[in-house]
Structures are given as structure tokens and as C-alpha cells.
Subunit: 492 residues, 2 copies
């Protein structure tokens, strides 16, 4: 097995090594697009299944809208269009033809030019609200609570596996409501779903907040977000939930008649998380030996590795015990693999499953069996213990729970240690250039100051935390009066 | 509720009415693309979940490959490229800019032209085999058994909801093998999975066969298919499984070293089913009152409709009983809805759930409750029966099983009645122009005759059934000698 770059050597290369060597994804022949390999897709399936259930439990249904957005619809909501215009893939033709000058090659057929260009969706508000227009006449048609699992394309210039790719997979909820209050409640409810998912399943502590106007989703009145902290001290936006006001309803002329027969514009929300979450997961928990998967969403929770013996009877004893353990664990809904490939040595397998971040490894040798024990290694702390075969299943269940909470607590302690108040500009810069993390500082509330700080330090305002305490102070840059601190950080 | 077109009036309009009024899908603002509405998407989710489990049970894993195929990769396998070149959406630019002559409008930025055009995948062999090249060195890397759930785009000129849309959802399996034999076995195994799914879940009898060279997938050595019969006597290809030989391995130079260290090209298969299956489902089972959903994949299996009473105590009795029934059914894994919306009358609801094809309807009135019975209506035969409350859950379970097999048997009887042997050309044409269905006839085995027959009658050879008996005969058109009958039909 090739060596991994360590975090201390090169954090960014360490991250790429884990993704590629851990089998989560691969580069592709298409600029900025990646291939999600089976192990990475298995992780995404687990995340998707949990989220999907949470969406359905909060009253949403799935649907599917077209991949393409005609240009005239795309440009209807001006701010949204402006926000995405610079990074979208555009379909202009619908046919190839044989190249007359180059046998076996194809060229775009100039006679097959579309009358109207189609934008590959970077997000689906436009196509969805042009559809909702036909579905909404009266208050009885509301609310509409729809989610879509889909691929989207944003033509990013600098891409990174999972964190920023030209095409990515996500879900996007798009809801329509009769009142402003109801839409705001929905926006907040879905932020809460995301935060619960991140903390309870990904073991990823997040700060819930709202974005400043500068950092809002293009076309939103208010963007709520969850922000996480990575091990290198950079922040990562892990999910957003937007209150869209009546912007899209006005752009697409979507009105409903209320109970008193008045025509009103509809209120909207949208919210999404993407395969970017996998990048967050990797950077939050992994170490220099490889990935560390939180048990609740791990593609594989337990691996059993036999210690080889030459004697066939001994081998059979090990095989039988392994199958017995595997079946007992599976009966409890735990995913298990028995790796009895005898072309690889145990030591190689140990390193391989450490690299892949499998939470629990059970090693099964004859001497252990004679003593009615197995050797169990936990991935998070790399501790090994001898555990009696009797009651093993229950112990493994407890261990998985313990690993899950240990990962969360470890990430939480790290995050909390890395929210630091800055009182002067020098301090502010020193923290950012030092250990990084979230810097809690006063800001005068103007976009100009925010831009200036970004220009000078590359730090942005990640969010104004929800339930932020008010406190008189002076802007960290301008000294102008401020009523509250906000969280700055350099971010992915 | 607006009236449905009947099959006798206009079969094609009847089909569209069911899709639109039954809430499965809607037209969109994008030419040839549709919106899959929550009820239709719920059906697709059920189909997908069953198939996904069948794929995993046969050793496959899911992954995800890019939406775009660079033109140079697209054209690498010549036959495949030629087959799809005329119907593909092409991305040529990656940025829009403000229209200088038209405030608030956007135009394609001519300076953001891609160096190499990107094809929106009509199928993914090219992008996947260009990736497999990096994953395969030795026989130890084989087989690769991967499936992908994705959207694809084929720029069809004439589109129909679900049956033929420019964008559709599907799954595509792409496997790589060390031997020809193993690849052929995989191709046949997946055809079998499709046939089992169609028959056992969709209640759709299918004929398993192979395509003639004319009708093969572009780039395949052999295309296996399942063919179903619709109520109007037209056939529908419901799934295909392709043995690709070494065509893609050669096009992308994918070789592996075998146990003796010889370099060999890899053998390939691909196989897919799509949202088109929903169209097949609708046309196979539905009637003039609406959709008819097979219980095993119905988005909703049972609906409970209360018969309104004015007396609040009576209403409460009905509500309580309904919830009791609902919980008992849910505990058995049956999906149930209690429709207690009191703004709609029972008669309206009955018609609505008939239109949506919900397999079982339970009506709950006070007089019935006094007699310890409920009224149960089955959607397939529209029979109503009074059923005792005692043991109701078991009765409903049996009824769902019964409806499932009744739908299958009904479709099978219809299909079998509509496979007719033709002995003369006049007979052949008369059957096609009459009741339609599959015409079993001798064919001289030449593509020219096949083309001629298609030109004269619009009928194509749907398949050469597997295990087809040999029989000496003369081609239905040319009189040339033939060794077996094949199945002709007009088709969707």
C-alpha cells in the first residue's frame, strides 16, 4: 500500500489521498467532474436515505423536474440569474454529424442549433416555479412541499473532489406557502433537519446562523446556514435553507386566491445539501492513517479479519465462528463483511480497513477462539481489546454507539476551542494566520467593510449565529459602533 | 372531476389523460421533457427500490459517473457514436453574460466557448469505459459489477409522456469481465432480473428474446430484451441487456493480464430499464375509469374513506375505527391513507382514488360499524364486498395478493390471445391492421427483408424468443427458406 501524505506535511494533499486511496472517488475525463466510486456512493446512499426519511417525516414528497432550463426562464428572476450566469453549462445544439474532413470523427451539426439555448440547471428555482404557476390557483393548493434528488452543474473554475465539482449530486427542496410566516417556519424547520442530521448522523457539530446580505443565495430574502469547522481551522458551509420571499412568485407570476378571494403572490423557500457533505465528513474526522467513518452512516460498520492457519480444521473453525458472528451482527441491522480473501495478509487488511475508516475491526485467531475471545479494534482511537465471545453482539452495538458519540465530542471540543473572540485588528489577523477557526468579532454591518475584510484576510462572515447575544462593541476593522459579534473564518 | 377519454374513443388521448389527471406527470416548459409529479415519482421510487435490491443481491454496487461525455470519448466506439449522434444535446459554452442591447436579458458569452464540446450522456458506455481503463490492470480487478441510477438525454423528435421523453431517468449497469462466457452469463442474468421484476412486481408478462442485428443497441454484439404487449395491440420494449463483446474495451484500449500474464481485452455488458416502464404499467393494466396499480409497487395500497355523519360522537367513532384499521395495516407494511378531508364528498373521493388506481378502498360508515363490517372495493374488478372487522387485516393482505395475481393473469391471457401465427402475407397484414398483437411468422433472416416489412407495415421484429423452437418454413414476405418463426409487432 502506498503511503499517505500526513496532515502536517500537506493538508490538502492528505485530503486528496484519502478520497482517492480510500476509494471514495476518482478523477474523470471531464474537466471538474469526478467519478463517485462504490464506497463513496454507498456513503452517499446512507446519507440520502436518512435525509429522505427526515424530509418525508416533515411532510415532503419527492418529484423530478427537467435538467434543462430555457434561457428565458433562467433569466426571469434577475438576481438569481445574475448569481449563476457566470458558471453555467449551456446546450446550444441537439445533433452531431460526420466530419466530412475527418473520417470516423463527429462535429456539431450547425443546422441543429436550438432556437433558445438551454441552461443545465445550477439550481432549479426557475424551472420549478414556472411549473408551480400551473399548479397553484387557490389557497387549497398550498402548501406545496416538494423535494428533488438530482444532479446540478456549476462551472467552477477551481474544483476539488467533493468540495467543489462542476457537476454534483444534491437534494433541493422547493416549497410554496400562503403566508410569509409559514414560509419562514419551513425555512427554519429544514435548517433544523440539516443540523440534526449533521450532528446526530455525521457526528459533525454545526453552528446555525443566517448569512449576511453579501453571502446570501442569489434571489433569497434570508439564507440560513449550518457551518462546520474542519481540522485545518477552515470553515465549511454544510447546508443552506433559503427564505425566498415572493421573489420567484413575482418573477413567474404565481398567485393564489386566499379564503377571501384576494389574489396574492405565493411565498417560497428552498433548501439543499450536496455530496459536498462527504468532503466535510472526511475533513472533520479522518487522521493520518486514513478515513474515519461515523458508525451511523458508515458504508461498512464492522469487518471481520481471520488470522490465517495452515491446518484445514482450524481454518474451518475460524470460518464457522466468523459466519456465526456475522449473522448475529446482521440480525441487529449492523453491516458486516467477512474478509476471507486468502491472497492478502492480515496486516495488509488491517491497514486497508483503517484507510477506509471502517469503525470496528474484529480479528479472529485460533488462540483467541481457544480462550473464547476475539480481538476488537476501534478505528477512532485505534485501541484494541480482547472481548469475550459471549455477549459479543451487544458489546459491538455499544461500541458503535460509543464511537459515534466519541467522534462527535472530539469534533465538538475542537470546534469550541476554535471559536475565539478578537478585540483588535492585530488579534483578528493573528488568529486567522495562526490556528484559524472561527473568529468572533464586531462588525459595523456594512457590505463594504465585509468586502474589505475579505480582501485583506480572505476571511468571510460565515454567519450571524441564531440567538446571538447583543453586546455593544466596535467594528474590528472600522471601529464603528456594533450591536453584536459575528463569526468570521476562512472557508472552503 | 373532468371526464376521461375512453380507450375506444382515442387510446392515445386516454393514455395522456391518465398520466396527467392521475397525477403521475405533467408537461414542462422544456421541449420533450416532463415533470414527474409526486404520485408518479412515488411509483418510480418503489420500482427503483425493488430493482436496486435485486441488483445488490446479484453482487452489483452503485456508483456515479459524469453527466457529460467529451466529444473525443463519445466518438471512440464508432457504432455507438453513430447510433446516438443524431439525437444528443451538446454543451458548447460555459457562461452567460448580460445582453448589452437588452437590459435584464442574458446572452451566451462567445468568449466562453469550450475547447471540446461536451455531449449530455445519452448512455454512459463511453465515459465509463474511459474510466474502467484506469481501474483494470489484472484479472484480480475483474469482474467489475457496477450500476448507476441517472438521468440521460436523447433528443427525440416526437415525444410522449414516459414512453419517449428527451430526458428520462433510468439505471444502467456496466460490467467488465475476464471471459466471454462470464459476460454472456451476466447479460442473461440481468435479463432474468428484469423479467422477474416485470412479471412479479409490475404484473406484466414479458417475452424474453434477442434482437435482430437491425434492432441491436449501437455497439452491442447481442441485445437481449423483454417485450410486453399493451392493450391496443402494440408491443413495448420494457428492458434490454447487452452483451458488448470487446467493442468498448478495444475502443478505449482496456486490457488486463490474465493468470498466465497474457494481455487480453476485457469483455463487457450493459443493461438498463427506465421511467418508460411507468408508461408500460399504465397501458397494460388501466381502464376507462383510470389507472390500475399493481399492489406490490403501488405508491398507495389502501385508502380509507369515511362516510360523513353529522353527529360528532358518530364521527369520532368512525375516526377511531379508521385509525385502528390504518395502524393495523401499517404494522403489516401496507401503505394506507385515511382521507378524512371533509370538504370533499365520498363519491368524489371514490372516483379520485379509482382514477389514481389505488388497489383497495375501504369505506367506513356508521351503519357498517354497527354491523361490525366495512365495505371493501377492489380496483381491478371494481367489486365491492362487505367484510367483517374481525380479521380485516389478513383479508386485506390476501386481497392485495389476489389483485396482484389477477392483474398478471389478465394481462397474460390477453398477451397469449394476441400471439398469432401468420402463414401468408395477407394474413400477416390483416392481423396487424386488425387486432394487432405479436405476429409469429417466418423470416428469411436478412436485414433487407426486415426493413422492407417495416416500410410496408410499420411492424418490426420485436425479438427472436429465447428457446425458440426450430421449424422449417418460408419467409412471410419473400418465401425464402426459414428455420424459425420470429415475433413481429407494431411497437411503442
Amino acid at each position: 500500500m502506498s503511503t499517505l501524505t500526513t496532515r502536517a506535511q500537506d493538508y490538502s494533499q492528505w485530503y486528496n489521498d484519502l478520497i482517492l486511496k480510500g476509494g471514495l472517488a476518482d478523477y474523470s475525463a471531464v474537466r471538474g467532474c469526478m467519478v463517485i466510486k462504490p464506497y463513496g456512493y454507498g456513503l452517499w446512499e446512507n446519507m440520502r436515505d436518512v435525509l429522505d426519511k427526515m424530509f418525508k417525516d416533515t411532510g415532503h414528497q419527492n418529484a423530478y423536474f427537467p435538467l434543462f432550463v430555457p434561457k428565458s426562464l433562467f433569466e426571469a428572476e434577475e438576481k438569481n440569474a445574475e448569481g449563476f450566469a457566470k458558471e453555467c453549462a449551456i446546450v446550444t445544439h441537439y445533433r452531431l454529424k460526420t466530419d466530412p474532413n475527418n473520417k470516423g470523427k463527429l462535429i456539431v451539426d450547425p443546422s441543429a442549433k436550438l432556437e433558445e439555448e438551454l441552461i443545465v440547471r445550477p439550481t432549479s428555482e426557475a424551472i420549478i416555479w414556472s411549473t408551480y404557476k400551473n399548479w397553484i390557483q387557490s389557497y387549497r393548493d398550498l402548501p406545496i412541499l416538494i423535494n428533488q434528488w438530482a444532479n446540478v452543474v456549476r462551472w467552477e473554475m477551481r474544483t476539488r473532489l467533493f468540495l467543489r465539482t462542476a457537476e454534483f449530486l444534491w437534494q433541493e427542496g422547493h416549497t410554496a406557502h400562503a403566508t410569509k410566516q409559514e414560509a419562514i417556519e419551513e425555512t427554519e424547520r429544514m435548517l433544523d433537519v440539516y443540523a440534526t442530521f449533521a450532528e446526530e448522523y455525521m457526528a459533525l457539530p454545526v453552528i446555525r446562523g443566517v448569512k449576511t446580505p453579501n453571502e446570501r443565495f442569489a434571489g433569497a430574502e434570508e439564507t440560513y446556514c449550518i457551518e462546520a469547522l474542519m481540522q485545518d481551522g477552515k470553515a465549511l458551509q454544510a447546508g443552506t435553507s433559503h427564505f425566498l420571499g415572493q421573489n420567484f412568485a413575482k418573477a413567474f407570476d404565481v398567485k393564489f386566491s386566499d379564503k377571501d378571494n384576494n389574489l396574492e403572490h405565493v411565498w417560497a423557500t428552498s433548501w439543499g445539501v450536496s455530496t459536498r457533505l462527504i468532503g466535510a465528513l472526511v475533513m472533520a474526522h479522518s487522521d493520518d492513517q486514513g478515513l474515519v467513518m461515523p458508525p451511523r452512516i458508515a458504508p461498512l460498520q464492522v469487518v471481520i479479519v481471520p488470522i490465517p492457519v495452515k491446518d484445514p480444521a482450524g481454518k474451518e473453525r475460524i470460518d464457522n465462528k466468523a459466519l456465526e458472528i456475522m449473522n448475529a451482527l446482521k440480525a441487529q441491522g449492523i453491516s458486516v463483511k467477512y474478509d476471507n480473501d486468502d491472497t492478502a495478509r492480515p496486516g495488509w487488511k488491517f491497514a486497508e480497513y483503517e484507510l477506509k475508516g471502517v469503525p470496528v475491526r474484529i480479528a479472529l485467531g485460533l488462540r483467541d477462539l481457544d480462550n473464547n475471545v476475539v480481538e476488537v479494534a476501534r478505528r477512532d482511537t485505534k485501541e484494541k481489546t480482547s472481548i469475550p465471545l459471549e455477549g459479543l453482539t451487544g458489546r459491538i452495538e455499544n461500541l458503535l454507539t460509543d464511537i459515534q458519540s466519541n467522534l462527535y465530542n472530539r469534533a465538538l471540543a475542537f470546534r469550541n476551542e476554535n471559536i475565539v473572540k478578537a478585540y483588535t485588528w492585530e488579534e483578528f489577523v493573528a488568529i486567522l494566520d495562526g490556528k484559524g477557526g472561527f473568529v468572533s468579532a464586531h462588525w459595523d454591518g456594512t457590505p463594504e467593510t465585509e468586502d474589505k475584510i475579505k480582501e485583506m484576510t480572505k476571511a468571510t462572515i460565515r454567519c450571524i449565529p441564531l440567538n446571538n447575544p447583543f453586546e455593544d462593541g466596535k467594528c474590528i476593522l472600522t471601529g464603528a459602533p456594533s450591536k453584536q459579534r459575528v463569526l468570521f473564518a476562512r472557508a472552503y
